[in-house]
Each structure stands twice: as C-alpha cells, then as structure tokens.
Subunit: 187 residues, 2 copies
C-alpha cells in the first residue's frame, strides 16, 4: 500500500502515512499488541525507515499523541473563565474517549515519556496558566492550575482509563460546576 | 537461585518466588521492559511453569498487583467518616507512590485488565460503598462513591502517573478536606 501523496514532501508524507497506520491499528488492537512490523506493513513505509526516524515504538507513539493533541486541542480563549474551563473540559473529555486514551496515558506516564512528552506537558501547563491569568486580569477569581488539574482533568482521565464509559459532556460540565463552586466558597 | 522455603507447599512457594522476582525487577526497570524470561531467571522458577500458571506476562502482573492490593490495602473502618476517608486516601497515596504505580495503571486500564481485575474493582467498589453506608447509618452525610473516586482517588493516581512526585500525606489530606467541604455545602 502506497502512502497517499500529501503536500510537504516525502518526509511529511512518510510521517502522515505512519501516523495514520498507528491510529488505525490502535482502533483494532490494544496498544501493547501493536508492533513496528505491523505499522510498516500497514503504512507501506519500510521498518528500517521507521526505526531510523522514531527509534522505538514508544517514540513513535509519543509523536502521534503529541501531534494530535497539539493540533486538535488548543487551549481555549472564550472571554470568560467558565467558558474557557468548560471548553477545555469538553475537549479533554473528547480526547480521552477515543483510541488515544491509552496512548495519552502511556505517553504521559512518568518513566515512559521522552523529551517530547516533557516539552508538551510543560508547554501545556504554561498555556493553561495563561488562560487562568487572563481570567484574573478580567477581575474573575480563577482556580489554581493544580485545582484545574485535580478537579477536572484527573477525573476525566480516571473515567476513561478505569471505566468502560468515558465521562460525556454533561459529566464534564458537572466537574466544571464543582471547580467553580470551590472557588466561590474560598475565592 | 532457589526460592526461599515458605509455608504453604510448593505451589505457594513458587507463587511467592515469582511475585518477589516481579517486584524486584520492577524496581530496576520499566514494566514494559520486563519479560517472563527475566522473571524465570530471577525467581529460579522455569519459564514453562510460569507460562502454565499465569499464561501471559499481563496475567502475572495482574496477579501481583491484586495480591498486593488485597493484602495491603483493606478498606478502613475507623468509626468516623473523616477517619475512614483519610485512612483510605493515605493508603492509596502510598500504594501509588511505589513501583506498583505503573502496574496499577496497567492492571486497571480498560482493555488491559482480565477477569481478576474486574472482580477486584467490583469488590473494592462494594467495600467502599459499605464504608460510606456505615457513615450514613451513623447519621453522617457521606459523599457518593463517584465523588470519593473523583475527588480523592483520581487526583492521587494522576499525580503518581503524570508528575514525578506522587502526592504525599499532606496533599492527600487536603483532598479529604476538599471532599468533605463539598458535602458540607450540599449535604
């Protein structure tokens, strides 16, 4: 199977074909059953090329995850604290409900993640802090970044990982209410 | 290396030796770098015996995790809601701070866990609900099981998995305060 032609030259085409193969395989199998040999077969890209470019399956999976998160999940800027937090919560609930859930977990796990993972998490933390700082500058009383992580993000990941049903949009909104009510009582 | 002699016969000794080898290896390496061949070498138990008994490395790891959790982490019964929740939170914070953290994650992950995992999680849910029911019977206003999971357990797992520092005891207590203050305002 030939990778489809895309703008951006051979390197970009190889990356796209390999990423798509990884995502396809992940819809069919558990992530720990996926191998570089399967990715090579599915993508039409030689194993040697994959090893040269990504080093290991972990490195490849991280690249897929961070690419998807960076492109698909920008930090919101709606003009209100509730709007931003709700948009972010809904985004995360969606991110963790698909085949990416297990990957996000793997990619984020201490000890598993490589330098791209560290960089992504640091950048994401900075962007979220900026979102909260914008609310403070408008005179709103934002939660801390830690509260945002603990009250919204941690439960969404927990549901996706430990239960068969990831939290849907209504559930995500109830977490937003909980976070804002904490601030209402202490802020 | 011979497994140490323990009470309980050969089957129990084999299980103990294999479990200890798994835990040792996990202190030295990432869990996805551990193999049954290494477990066999470290424990002095033949690979064929390990395969016959546990089937796969996943099955073996699950057995180690649930054994440790069942023995080491009974659900508390201190006589007060705060006492029970605090004891449980401190226990979980400790469970997820050692080499078991990644295993807990793997063992609990949807799609990764086997029937022992399902059974353990269901039993644990029933025990925790009983702990909350005892508080209600005493006239206290307990949170729901979902609130307990989301406000206490999810953040403790999240910290252990995504940050290099698992939440310590003080942090665990602050989550207990958060949970009980939710109930204070709504209960």
């Amino acid at each position: 199977m030939q990778p489809a032609r895309r703008p951006g030259g051979r390197t970009a085409r190889v990356r796209t074909a390999v990423h798509e193969a990884v995502l396809e395989l992940l819809r069919e199998e558990e992530w720990d059953d996926v191998s570089i040999a399967q990715v090579a077969e599915r993508s039409g890209v030689h194993q040697a090329t994959i090893y040269r470019r990504w080093g290991t399956l972990s490195g490849l999976i991280d690249d897929v995850v961070y690419e998807r998160l960076s492109q698909g999940s920008p930090v919101p800027d709606t003009g209100t604290l509730r709007g931003d937090i709700e948009a972010y919560a809904l985004q995360v609930a969606e991110d963790v409900s698909g085949p990416l859930a297990a990957l996000l977990m793997r990619a984020g796990m201490v000890g598993s993640r490589g330098p791209e993972g560290e960089t992504f998490l640091i950048n994401r933390g900075v962007q979220l802090q900026a979102m909260l700082d914008r609310a403070a500058a408008r005179g709103e009383q934002p939660p801390t970044l830690l509260e945002l992580m603990e009250v919204i993000i941690a439960p969404l990941y927990y549901h996706a990982i430990f239960f068969n049903r990831p939290a849907g949009p209504d559930h995500a909104r109830s977490l937003v209410d909980r976070l804002l009510s904490l601030r209402g009582s202490s802020g």
